[in-house]
């Protein structure tokens, strides 16, 4: 503990040089920018800037590239809140209440609480990174295929109906998401599934295309269908004193932020789609424990503060397996690994002892970077909130251009734009009949991993189903899933016998 603090102090002397501060600032600015633009996520951002770091000292290079990664997490929620366009997996949930807040003229508080929550959660995540990194990384290794399968089942069952609307509709959408997730090469046998001979479908459907389509394009189409008179309108314009959160907002958010940070950090250590599970879980928990659960989906600030914080601390936690094991659990850390390799630093069990200056310098720079981001983001809140002053007939074409450009940059593929437009049409219809997009997206992310883990487990165990139950972690998740399923059932039966029929 004390030793870590000493190392951290050394790290600060490295990170606080003018030179490194400059690169930290550059990284966080670029990160915020690419986070704000949909489509261009941290992956593309880091890849584009790797060649620019060739001449730099490795520490400066990694400080800058890491800044892009966590900077993008700050910016990621902006378009979700303002335009209902999620730029990446992590900001899907933010769309639900964030966009509703913006529609009610409370875009300012929503954006501000994102920045504040991200800062607090990022700092908590960093503390975890400094003091707990090595033991936690070892713990993460305990997750093999069966544990993974049980975790996915748990996540799937618990989080499917995250918004609490019609359960049957949510389940149907989740299954549709799972089916979409099976498109492409079967990861176990390598055979093609539902590709209809198209090479573009071999790699599966791009998640970002589905996310931007269902939410962003769908929302635009809903607006276009409205009569011309309504397009002249603007969204409710916020008054100046409503640009920042009130004391009441802060009070309501502090619990969700802290809980979100905890959830995010825990989930972030597990390989796989951490941002999705973390943000969905946080939203689910906040809705469950809220005294006014009916506010959720209509612009509850807790529904923005919790998931955004969870996302940021998950992002910090993702550095642990990268630095300690040298194994990236998520695509953005995979590209950071590449950047480290190209600079002659191989992350792994030896990295902290072989390159202490780099490791502690980068960690210290993240503290500084988080602070820079807060200072950088808060003044932008009024600027961004004012985007909503633009009349809709001008705003909608701009959103479309934004979505198309962003979509193309993900894979440099026009096919993805087609997918996005198609899903936009489907999203439009779903909106009309009150089907939720969130369960579909969750299933799309978890589905393929669930299937692979299931089949891997049975291959390892030679077809023995007991494998899932005689491993403690796996068993625990399955048990929790069972309890979760049984309790409401008992409650329903209980209610029915008492009252003779429930609400729905």
């Amino acid at each position: 503990m004390l030793e870590s603090l000493q190392h951290l102090a050394t790290g600060f002397t490295i990170a606080a040089t003018i030179h490194n501060l400059f690169y930290c600032l550059m990284g966080t600015i670029v990160g915020t920018l690419i986070g704000v633009l949909p489509g261009i996520g941290p992956i593309a951002g880091i890849a584009l800037l790797i060649p620019a770091t060739f001449g730099l000292h490795p520490t400066s290079a990694i400080i800058m590239l890491a800044g892009i990664y966590y900077g993008a997490m700050y910016g990621g929620s902006t378009t979700s809140i303002l335009l209902n366009v999620p730029g990446e997996t992590a900001s899907v949930i933010t769309c639900i209440d964030g966009y509703q807040m913006a529609q009610k003229g409370r875009a300012g508080p929503a954006l501000a609480i994102c920045a504040i929550g991200s800062f607090i959660a990022g700092t908590i995540g960093l503390f975890g990174l400094v003091f707990l990194a090595p033991p936690l990384a070892q713990a993460a290794l305990a997750f093999g295929p069966p544990e993974y399968f049980s975790l996915m089942v748990f996540g799937f069952v618990v989080l499917s109906n995250v918004t609490g609307a019609s359960l049957l509709k949510a389940l149907m959408m989740a299954i549709v998401g799972l089916i979409i997730g099976t498109i492409g090469l079967d990861p176990v046998t390598g055979d093609a599934r539902f590709t209809f001979g198209s090479i573009y479908l071999l790699g599966g459907i791009e998640f970002v295309a589905v996310a931007i389509g269902l939410f962003g394009i769908g929302e635009v189409l809903i607006n276009v269908e409205k009569p011309a008179g309504m397009l002249e309108q603007r969204v409710l314009i916020p008054r100046l004193r409503e640009l920042y959160p009130t004391l009441r907002d802060i009070k309501r958010s502090i619990g969700p932020i802290l809980r979100g940070a905890g959830i995010g950090f825990g989930v972030g250590l597990v390989p796989g789609p951490a941002p999705v599970i973390a943000t969905y879980s946080s939203y689910m928990i906040e809705r469950k424990i809220s005294k006014t659960p009916d506010d959720f989906g209509k612009g509850a600030i807790e529904g923005v503060a919790g998931p955004e914080s969870a996302n940021n601390s998950a992002c910090q936690a993702a550095f642990i397996p990268l630095f300690v094991l040298g194994i990236p659990f998520a695509p953005p850390t995979a590209i950071l690994l590449g950047a480290l390799l190209i600079h002659g630093v191989s992350p792994g069990p030896l990295m902290i002892s072989l390159h202490p200056g780099l490791f502690w310098g980068v960690v210290a720079s993240m503290y500084i970077g988080n602070f820079i981001l807060l200072v950088l983001n808060l003044p932008f809140v009024p600027l961004f909130a004012n985007i909503l002053r633009i009349p809709k007939k001008i705003l909608l074409p701009l959103i479309i251009l934004f979505c198309i450009t962003g979509m193309f940059t993900v894979n440099n593929s026009v096919f993805d734009i087609w997918v996005m437009l198609l899903l936009g049409g489907i999203g439009f219809l779903m909106r009309k009949w009150a089907y939720e997009g969130a369960p579909l997206l969750l299933a799309l992310v978890l589905g393929p991993k669930l299937e692979v883990a299931f089949r891997q487990s049975l291959m390892i165990s030679h077809g023995d189903f007991g494998f899932f139950f005689n491993r403690p972690i796996s068993m625990a998740f399955l048990l929790a899933t069972m309890i979760f399923l049984v309790i409401p059932l008992i409650r329903v039966i209980f209610k029915k016998t008492m009252k003779g029929g429930g609400r729905q």
């Binding site: 790797i50 079967d186 390598g190 790699g203 695509p331 190209i342 002659g344 191989s346 792994g348």
Partner: protein, 316 residues
């Protein structure tokens, strides 16, 4: 009014599309390399580094464009369909000669002109350091006595290292239980956690853990030993004539003029010999292995045949 505008716009579209592109002397503009995978993988990094040094020798910039999707089919199809003028190259890696056997692709390696091979990495099997098998002989003896019991991870069904494992089975007459993972990272994680017995990888995957003493190389399918681990014998030294690995080079669409290929080859060769690139490659722990167009073409042809044979055996 609106109708008129739409017609006008459509007319503009058609007019613009019908004007052909003008070709000119080589190289008058930047050359692009298509990477059929997402940014950040080994292939992507190697060619980004090579592009950075080659530009100065070519006289024009070399840019990397990622076209991921379809397990590399999307990128190769685009590379194949590109104008054969030398301005669009594609990075050719083992899957170019594997995927066409698995699914119907629009291309095979024959639709490309080889330009240069840059990297060849030997494949290897890794075990946990605390595993019961101390030598290759013990490992194989156990495998022989207990067919289908040793779990061997790979980075994806039908992928390069999976086929290496299958070929090794055939060469030694044993049977493993192959477990596919989605990439080299997850398969290495699984062996570190002890969820599988062995893993088939290609550097730089797992090298750090070998250095740290967590994993050990039980079988090295190389011609000669690693400089980094001089104590680890190759399987060839131990009496099994088996050498396999991953190669990464550059190809151009079929029909690219020979003088353009030569210009490109010379520039990339110089880029490869550039000390900056050599240092980058060393840092990334990749094994530079130069092959000219002819030798590279032969390599791809023999690999194509080998993978075809192996994949037929899995289907049985």
């Amino acid at each position: 009014m609106l109708k008129k505008i739409m017609i006008g716009l459509l007319a503009t579209f058609i007019l613009l599309v019908s004007i052909p592109l003008q070709a000119a002397e080589f190289p008058t503009k930047e050359v692009q390399i298509i990477i059929p995978w997402a940014a950040g993988g080994a292939t992507d990094l190697i060619f980004r580094a090579l592009a950075a040094t080659t530009g100065q020798y070519l006289g024009k910039a070399v840019v990397v464009v990622n076209k991921p999707g379809g397990g590399s089919a999307v990128g190769y199809t685009e590379g194949m369909k590109a104008q054969p003028d030398g301005y669009t190259l594609t990075s050719a890696v083992n899957p170019l000669t594997i995927l066409p056997h698995q699914v119907k692709t629009a291309y095979t390696y024959k639709d490309f002109e080889p330009v240069i091979n840059v990297v060849s990495d030997p494949s290897m099997f890794l075990l946990r350091s605390d595993s019961p098998w101390k030598s290759l002989k013990e490992f194989l003896d156990y495998a022989k006595k207990n067919p289908n019991m040793i779990t061997v991870g790979n980075s994806g069904a039908g992928g390069g290292v999976h086929l290496v494992a299958l070929a090794f089975e055939a060469a030694t007459g044993v049977k493993f239980n192959h477990i596919p993972f989605s990439g080299g990272g997850p398969s290495v994680t699984a062996i570190l956690g002890g969820h599988i017995n062995a893993v088939s990888v290609s550097p730089p995957e797992g090298i750090e853990h070998v250095k740290a003493g967590k994993l050990k190389i039980i079988a090295l399918f190389a011609e000669k030993r690693f400089e980094m681990f001089p104590d680890v014998p190759t399987v060839k030294e131990q009496g099994i004539d088996f050498v396999m690995g991953m190669w990464r080079g550059l190809v151009a669409p079929k029909g690219t003029p020979p003088d353009v290929i030569k210009k490109l080859h010379d520039a990339f060769k110089q880029g490869m010999d550039d000390p900056v690139f050599r240092k980058n490659a060393k840092d990334m722990v990749v094994n530079l292995h130069y092959l000219g167009p002819e030798a590279y073409g032969k390599l791809m042809a023999s690999e194509h045949e080998l993978y075809g044979k192996l994949l037929k055996e899995i289907k049985k």
